[in-house]
Amino acid sequence: MITALVTIIILAALAGVATVATAGAPKEISLVHRIDALLPQTQCRRCTFAGCRPYAEAIAQGAADINQCPPGGERTAKALAGLMGVTPKPVGKEYGVVPDYPAVAFIEEDACIGCTKCIQACPVDAIVGASRHMHTVIAADCTGCELCIPPCPVDCIVMRPAPAVVR
């Protein structure tokens, strides 16, 4: 009972903070959303932020440049430059290379030991599986962020070209 009460209080407090933030700077929030809409939503953290939304927030506050998104490539950099009213520039080399084609993660199922480390690493919940049971990537939901690759203790995750969409 206490647990529930405390949780409710904490959540209410969080919601209150969020509401205050919204009320305090409505313009800023809408700019964050507009920037976020231009980002590819890979959630790969190559921009050094914890996902696309945090990167969008950083750009809006002037804490990040517009050329930090390799998956978005030149197009995203250009669109961001247009929105922010700055001169376009190519994606910075230090953030990684711009991929040639969309890719998704694939788990070599024979090698998987079921450690759940990749499941915890996936920013979009695109990996299913349970402890000591084989894991697999839902290709349709995978953004190709590659965040699941370093935690894998048996190196059984590889990147493959994304399957074509059949309409």
Binding site: V6, T7, I10, D36, Q43, V124, D125, A126
Partner: protein
């Protein structure tokens, strides 16, 4: 330009059908080899059931549908499977695609297909669709969409209205016209089978006002069976009257929603050739292994309509029609307006091959050098999909996906009317055709980005909640035990 054209869009084009409709349908001569591409229908390629050096008989199934939208394929001759390998295909503009190659032994030994014998009247709608699928029936109007899939997705409580499309608006194609003239009974039989399969209350056969012979033949065939559910509707011969959406708008005075299908407004549209193919399958047990192909144009000596087995090379059909004339300049599959140019004639007839135009310079509207758009607006007056081609063209340079989507690029039916009237000779349709896949890809990327964002935010929220719960639990543990729990 008349008021009528201003209202509906489209063009009155000079018909070139008489060249190929003078003579009755004749059979194309048989050849030694037949090439059957596995991906000749819309959807996924079929999966082969035979392997090289297998003996096959005529009408024997040689490939089964892949899961999803796909179709059966049958052998058009008896003989031996030579290979299953990539061969140039007309629907791939001459690029190779996996095909079954069959050597004809000329004996036409019949395959006894147990699946072909059913009493169709007793089948439920779903079983009827399944039976039609087993005949390898696909839409013969040109898109080759598997008929059973279309029927199955259109089944509804009160039965959709059936529309048989006999409005053959392309100026050179006449295969449906001769079919209606000579095999009207097949069409009416197929119409009744479709009415049964769909539990449909009525069938409308739409034909253009310039084919009186076909009209008479159909009327006689309908009177013969005395079916009051089937009626004929004459539509004006304005290109592209036979486009599915355009025809539905003309006949039923209702527009198909731009992001929907005819089934959404309770209509199923099938080509008259498809109805005749269904009749042959249900009545005679003959799967879709042949179709009528119009061979015409100023580049061929003796134009006509040929009953052709699927897999016959184009070169054999051209030879049947007396060969090329010296004026021959370009080979086109489909009509002169919407067809595609082919690099050579060593390509097999597929289920979608309704017409082969051997065009000379007299047939082709020669295109001059492209000039800038003068924004005359002629294109938007003729567009049958009510689009603004000049605006679409504007938003292509540079590619503005938002505006292109808002202006309905994906609703373009690629009829070519805007090209035809453009005084600046801009190849509009070619540009639109290239841009459509790019736009589709971009819209798909937007959709999956939205989904990824939702999942990312939902996950963050969940992690925050779990963290909060965990902290709350720890806090509860640290509290003295004797405190009352509530």
């Amino acid at each position: 330009m008349t008021t009528e054209e201003l209202v509906t869009g489209g063009l009155r084009l000079e018909a070139h059908k008489q060249r190929s409709t003078k003579a009755p349908i004749r059979a194309a001569s048989l050849t030694e080899r037949y090439v059957i591409p596995l991906d000749q229908h819309s959807g996924l390629p079929a999966v082969p059931l035979v392997k090289p050096s297998d003996r096959v008989r005529i009408w024997q199934p040689i490939a089964q549908p892949a899961p999803g939208i796909s179709a059966w394929l049958h052998s058009p001759v008896s003989g031996e499977v030579l290979a299953i390998e990539p061969r140039p295909a007309p629907h791939r503009l001459g690029a190779p695609t996996l095909s079954v190659v069959i050597a004809n032994d000329g004996r036409d030994e019949r395959f006894e297909n147990a699946a072909a014998i059913v009493s169709f009247e007793r089948l439920s709608p779903n079983e009827a669709c399944e039976h039609i699928a087993r005949g390898g029936i696909v839409g013969l109007g040109g898109a080759a969409f598997p008929t059973a899939s279309k029927l199955a997705s259109s089944l509804c409580e009160n039965g959709p209205k059936l529309l048989l499309n006999g409005a053959e608006c392309e100026p050179y194609i006449s295969c449906d016209e001769v079919l209606m003239r000579e095999r009207a009974e097949d069409i009416v039989f197929g119409a009744r089978a479709l009415l049964h399969a769909l539990c449909s209350p009525s069938c409308t056969i739409a034909i253009e006002d310039d084919v009186p012979d076909a009209h008479t033949a159909l009327r006689l065939a309908i009177d013969k069976v005395g079916d009051a559910r089937i009626r004929i509707k004459v539509v004006p011969a304005i290109y592209p009257a036979g486009g599915e959406r355009q025809l539905i708008a003309t006949v039923f005075d209702t527009e198909v929603p731009h992001d929907g299908l005819p089934a959404d407004i309770g209509v199923v549209c099938q080509n008259v050739g498809t109805a005749a193919a269904i009749a042959r399958w249900i009545r005679d047990g003959q799967p879709l292994v042949s179709r009528i192909v119009t061979v015409t144009g100023d580049g061929v000596r003796d134009a006509g309509n040929l009953e052709t087995r699927i897999g016959t090379p184009f070169s054999s059909l051209i030879a049947d029609c007396g060969g090329y004339t010296e004026r021959m300049s370009r080979l086109i599959m489909g009509g002169s307006m919407m067809g595609t140019s082919l690099p050579h004639d060593d390509l097999p007839v597929v289920k979608a091959t309704n017409c082969i135009v051997a065009a000379s310079s007299l047939d082709l509207q020669l295109r001059g050098a492209e000039m800038p758009c003068i924004r005359c607006g002629n294109c938007s007056q003729v567009c049958p999909a009510f689009l603004l081609p000049q605006q679409l063209h504007w938003y292509l340079q540079p590619f503005d996906s938002d505006q292109l989507d808002r202006h309905g690029l994906l609703d373009c039916i690629e009829c070519g009317c805007c090209d035809y009237v453009c005084p600046s000779q801009i190849p509009l349709v070619e540009r639109f055709r290239e841009a459509k896949p790019l736009l589709t890809r971009e819209l798909d990327a937007h959709l999956s980005a939205d989904a990824a964002r939702t999942r990312f935010l939902a996950r963050n929220e969940r992690l925050a909640r779990l963290e909060a719960e965990h902290r709350a639990k720890l806090a509860a543990k640290r509290r003295p035990k004797n405190e009352p729990s509530s």
